[in-house]
């Protein structure tokens, strides 16, 4: 009897003591299919390797949640998943801890995409997609043709956000991909882009607000030409939708991982970021969603099957005609651009 008691006491003691030794880290992602992909491919195996107990929270608007947590002094998450422009905004508002590049390998990010605060790990393209029932074998091939409503009649759906559309508007107006931000940085550059968007406005049937909505519009045939993210277009296409898309002229954006200022487990968070973004893991992410690695090593050694490469925005053969979204430009001009855009759609 007393032996049984002692054993069970010991068992209770062990089970109480164990969680104390396991390092706990909380990660916040956008949830949904994407959040699940990040879990399965990236943090779950990394947590197992490090012996961490990782908790997941989901937030559709990461930046708003981050700001809420940091300004209220109740930071509950150690790692937060943001779009790179949001990452730059958050860094400018001092909401983030600087990344510890002694723990994270600085050589894993190409120079153009590097950030001191938010580690870019995957990329996506904002692409042109169309209904193959409407256009058959002869869809628009460039943004200039997307704007040509006489040659390609049909209902357009664009995102209700200036991001990427400003760049696309300039591409459609004959600006070379390499010159987009130098044109935008001139006083009349933004006005030129807005004017171009206003020209297509009568043919825009929906200004969409969520990626899921853009996929639905494409799938239902509610719109014939949709500007959306390649992952969304690819999903609709793979589900048997009469849909195709092109990476020609796409605007490439990256998503990144950051540590909120005052995060409870800062060092463990840095270690988890380093472990979950190993080349094999960011390559594995493409098993779930067509968002390609930012780390060039992800493309090496056949980590990603050959036939999948053409579905990734940053794959070497897709990147030639694209524009890399410039987080710094958006940080400086985002509010003015968005305001001008909103005024255009409300006119």
């Amino acid at each position: 009897m007393s032996r049984l008691l002692r054993i069970s006491l010991a068992a209770i003691a062990v089970s109480v003591a164990l969680p104390v030794y396991a390092q706990t880290v909380t990660i916040t992602t956008a949830g949904g299919d994407y959040g699940n992909a990040i879990k399965e491919a990236m943090w779950a195996p990394a947590a197992k390797e490090l012996g961490y107990d990782v908790r997941e929270e989901t937030q559709s608007d990461g930046l708003a949640a981050l700001k809420m947590q940091v300004t209220s002094g109740a930071v509950s998450t150690d790692i937060i998943h943001l779009g790179s422009p949001e990452g730059a905004q958050a860094a400018a508002q001092s909401l983030l801890e600087p990344l510890d590049y002694k723990i994270i390998d600085p050589k894993s990010v190409p120079a153009g995409a590097k950030s001191d605060y938010c580690y870019p790990f995957d990329s996506y393209g904002t692409v042109m997609s169309w209904n193959t029932k409407t256009y058959g074998e002869n869809p628009p091939k460039t943004w200039a043709e997307f704007w040509d409503v006489a040659k390609f009649p049909g209902r357009r759906a664009l995102r209700a956000n200036a991001q990427d559309l400003i760049e696309i508007a300039l591409l459609s107006d004959g600006v070379a991909p390499a010159d987009v931000y130098s044109v935008l940085s001139t006083p009349e550059g933004l006005a030129r882009a807005i004017k171009r968007l206003e020209a297509i406005k009568p043919n825009v049937s929906v200004w969409w607000t969520s990626g899921a909505q853009s996929a639905q519009l494409l799938k239902d045939g509610e719109a014939d030409l949709v500007v959306t993210w390649n992952g969304r277009a690819q999903t609709v296409k793979a589900d048997g939708g009469t849909v195709d898309y092109t990476f020609k002229g796409s605007v490439i954006g990256t998503d990144c991982l950051a540590v909120p200022k005052g995060a409870p487990n800062k060092e463990a968070a840095m270690k988890l970021i380093a472990a979950m973004t190993q080349p094999a893991r960011v390559a594995k992410l493409t098993d779930f969603i067509a968002y390609g690695p930012v780390n060039p090593a992800g493309y090496e050694g056949g980590l990603i099957p050959q036939d999948r490469l053409k579905t990734l925005a940053t794959a070497p053969e897709n990147a030639g005609t694209s524009v890399f979204s410039n987080a710094d430009w958006w940080l400086k001009n985002g509010e003015a651009a968005q305001r001008a855009f909103d005024e255009m759609t409300n006119r």
Partner: protein, 295 residues
């Protein structure tokens, strides 16, 4: 002998009042905590810069922007549009329900209430299925040859209004139905026996006696619709942008809590103005009615 004349009874009444006041304290506490404190916080927030300094810059920025005023106009248009359709559709329906036999009325009422138990998101997306370009309604219209091209029923003001009227109609109907059901049937009979036509009876007896219900219903419609977000966001296609959407935009795209708070206060002022307008109209109408009865 009056209560005031008897000190013992007066003391009793006083302690009773104190007791009732004490009973209401928890509710008052919750209202204070859950409603008034956040409003005070929003007011404070509206005077702060992103860095936390006091400023009136947020007000200047929001009030000088054309976007604010067009959002305000859209908000009012949506609310009044919804109210107009609720009155047009809901009042006859309430009349029909009130004059039906109780069993039939209960059954019809269940149908009216059914949508209330469904989540607003589900209902809104349901309308999307019905109203979209190759949706059920357009398929029926083009299939029967009534129209050659699908009508633009959704992703615009029309679709938003349809969704909002559908959501608000049961909530408008309830108080109107209650008021009409409480009308003494003898009054209607008396009016008929004195030679009034049905139209005259409705105009001179039923509508004045149910005005209170119509007012309550209208106020409910306003309180709900003025802050409506989901329906315009889903059915408006980015073209219908009331203040609620402007607030969300200001928060999520600009992270500008100060300006968003100013917009919230604007919404509060709009609500208060409309509330005062309603009360004034009601008092005016009540006075006129009393006048006609005595004349």
């Amino acid at each position: 002998m009056t209560i005031a004349a008897d000190p013992a009874l007066a003391a009793d009444a006083r302690s009773e009042r104190r007791f009732f006041l004490a009973l209401s304290l928890p509710a008052l506490f919750i209202v204070g905590l859950a409603a008034i404190l956040p409003i005070l916080w929003i007011i404070r927030q509206s005077f702060l810069t992103t860095g936390g300094q006091y400023t009136v810059g947020n007000y200047e920025k929001v009030l000088s922007s054309g976007l604010t005023w067009s959002a305000l106009v859209t908000t009012v248009e949506l609310s009044f549009g919804t109210l107009a359709f609720c009155i047009l559709l809901g009042t006859p329906l309430a009349l029909a329900l009130a004059s039906a036999r109780p069993r039939v009325a209960n059954l019809l009422m269940a149908f009216v209430m059914l949508p209330l138990w469904t989540s607003i998101l589900v209902r809104t997306y349901g309308w999307l299925v019905l109203l979209r370009r190759d949706g059920l309604i357009n398929a029926a219209l083009t299939g029967s040859g009534l129209t050659t091209e699908p009508l633009p029923l959704v992703y615009n003001f029309t679709g938003t209004l349809i969704g909002m009227v559908h959501y608000m109609l049961p909530l408008f109907l309830l108080p109107v139905y209650a008021a009409m059901r409480d009308i003494d049937a003898n009054l209607v009979r008396a009016s008929a026996s004195m030679g009034a036509t049905l139209g005259q009876t409705i105009r001179t007896v039923i509508l004045p006696l149910s005005a209170g219900g119509i007012f309550s219903g209208s106020i409910i419609v306003f309180i709900y619709t003025i802050g409506f977000f989901i329906t315009p966001a889903v059915l408006g296609g980015g073209k219908v942008n009331p203040l609620s959407i402007r607030i969300e935009r200001t928060l999520s795209t600009f992270q500008d809590w100060g300006s968003a708070s100013v917009l919230g206060i604007l919404l509060l002022i709009l609500m208060a103005l409309i509330g005062v307008m309603f009360l004034a109209a009601r008092r005016l109408m009540a006075r006129n009615n009393v006048g006609t009865v005595h004349a």
